[in-house]
């Protein structure tokens, strides 16, 4: 579904550029550009709760839920969870452009088409985009793969760890100034289907295959910037459905039967960001809450980070927390026994960034995660301490 939608968009735009190119002198007006980025990451578990969780040999640190990027207790340095390479190409003709971005990740070992969208600038303030894009749930969603534009070696997983990160659909962007404030507003709608979710490998086992579907996604965000202050609010709603396709881990082995289709549900996502870059100081704060109307639990997560930029150095301390809590005790209708009231992890991250060149950096980060989930909650990954090094660049 995703690939076919992307393919259709690609074909439409290739036809557009072909038609443009065969019309004589206009062909020279098409401008092509290419760019890219990569992160080489190495990490080592320093300690934590020793246990076998699903088929992971823990202590484990989940650095990227969406791609199942997990550092486990292997003694050697691990390169795969946060390493990635991306290339992006664009073709622009007058007010229309086509952009594609391909990302290869160590966590998945696959090359994925993350972005494929056409853009039409209606005027200087309004643009319309059609295709496959990032779902803008968070402030850093758009650049989650571009390590050079992040202050961390990986995004704080408690906040940024969700099952869907993309969608296929349409969005409209409005950009303007109101008095001293710069404003950018987006409205978007679409769907997301992923037949091999990385997120659910963390909960169903590495070799499991689970599908997710976010239907009728509708949302909007508003970013206001003034001098050193930037604020962002986002709202998204959609239908959700999970589907265990094959190989569920039952605690001992992959024996759960395939095709467990969970009933469809709805969700409402509320997010708020307040960031500041005042003189050499930087402040990052972000909060999100996800309500599930009709179900008996809600999620919320937040982070607060403070850093200081001195010449080429940038130390930063970040606190993050995820909490999934029961609204009412009881039974999730027809699916899971609801035997716990809280799933909660807190992470303290200490990061040091050094700018090597104008387009590259190296970072070292220590993460200490503590698990405060109820005893009845499974899978319980427990606490973890991780040290990571990254080299990030854009080209």
């Amino acid at each position: 579904m995703v690939r076919s939608t992307s393919s259709r968009i690609l074909i439409i735009f290739l036809m557009f550029f072909f038609v443009s190119s065969v019309h004589g002198e206009q062909a020279s007006a098409v401008e092509y550009s290419g760019s890219g980025f990569y992160t080489i990451a190495a990490g080592k578990m320093l300690g934590g709760t020793r246990a076998n969780v699903e088929d992971y040999n823990c202590p484990c640190f989940i650095s990227d839920y969406a791609q199942a990027g997990v550092y486990d207790s292997r003694s050697s340095l691990q390169w795969k969870p946060d390493s990635k390479l991306g290339v992006q190409g664009s073709a622009a003709y007058s007010s229309v452009s086509l952009t594609a971005q391909l990302v290869v990740r160590g966590a998945t070992g696959t090359a994925d088409l993350e972005w494929l969208y056409g853009n039409y600038n209606l005027n200087d303030k309004i643009s319309i985009q059609l295709g496959r894009k990032r779902l803008p749930m968070f402030y850093y969603s758009d650049v989650q793969d571009i390590g050079f534009s992040l202050p961390w070696t990986h995004l704080p997983p408690g906040l940024y760890g969700w099952e869907a990160v993309n969608y296929s659909g349409v969005s409209v962007r409005y950009q303007d100034r109101f008095r001293d404030w710069s404003a950018t507003a987006d409205l978007f709608a679409g769907n997301e289907t992923n037949n091999n979710s990385g997120y659910w490998k963390i909960y169903n086992g590495r070799q499991s295959q689970s599908g997710i579907k976010w239907s009728n996604i509708v949302g909007g965000d508003l970013t206001l910037s003034k001098d050193w202050l930037e604020t962002r609010a986002v709202y998204i709603q959609s239908g959700t459905q999970e589907n265990l396709v094959s190989n569920g881990w039952d605690g001992q082995a992959y024996t759960l039967p395939p095709s467990v289709i969970y009933p469809p549900a709805k969700q409402q996502i509320f997010g708020l960001t307040v960031n500041a870059d005042y003189r050499n100081w930087l402040l990052r704060t972000e909060f999100i809450q996800i309500d599930h109307p009709g179900l008996n639990y809600k999620d919320h997560a937040q982070l607060v980070g403070v850093g200081y930029h001195y010449q080429k150095w940038q130390p930063m301390a970040t606190w993050g927390r995820y909490k999934g809590s029961a609204v009412t005790e009881g039974l999730l209708p027809g699916v899971l026994p609801w035997t716990y009231s809280q799933d909660m992890q807190q992470t303290l991250s200490l990061t040091l960034r050094y700018d090597l060149t104008a387009t590259s950096d190296v970072k070292v980060q220590f993460d200490s995660e503590s698990d405060h989930s109820d005893a009845g909650y499974t899978p319980n990954y427990g606490s973890a301490r991780l040290l990571t090094f990254t080299y990030d660049t854009v080209f």
Partner: protein
Amino acid sequence: MLRRYLLVLGLCVICAASVFAADIVVIVNPKSGVDLLSKDDVIDIFMGRNRQLSSGIPALPLDLPDTSVERENFYARLTGKSISEINAYWARLHFTGRATPPALVRSQEEAIQKVIDDRSSLAYVTRSKISAQVKVVFELNEK
């Protein structure tokens, strides 16, 4: 003899200091319809937040190369950020299609020529480089 060396050395220091402390000005085409820009206006245009001049025509900012001292001084004085921080900021906008970075030119001379040729272009250059064919709309003095 020593006094002569000290004099030469002193002149060199003054000369070098004047290069690094040189006033940077933002210039536009005289037909742009713009007489003055505020610091916020310049930040918004060069950071991709606004790409329209107050006269209603598109704003097309120009950037000098990463290695240029003028570029480093311009962004440091304008935003307090290093070139690396500015590039990290642009990576976010560029890879997500939110905005296009200022067009790159190779030298101050090329930037000035583009401003002379195009009424939408804006550039930052040292004051000593400009001529009567361009209009200064903003000044960034050494603090």
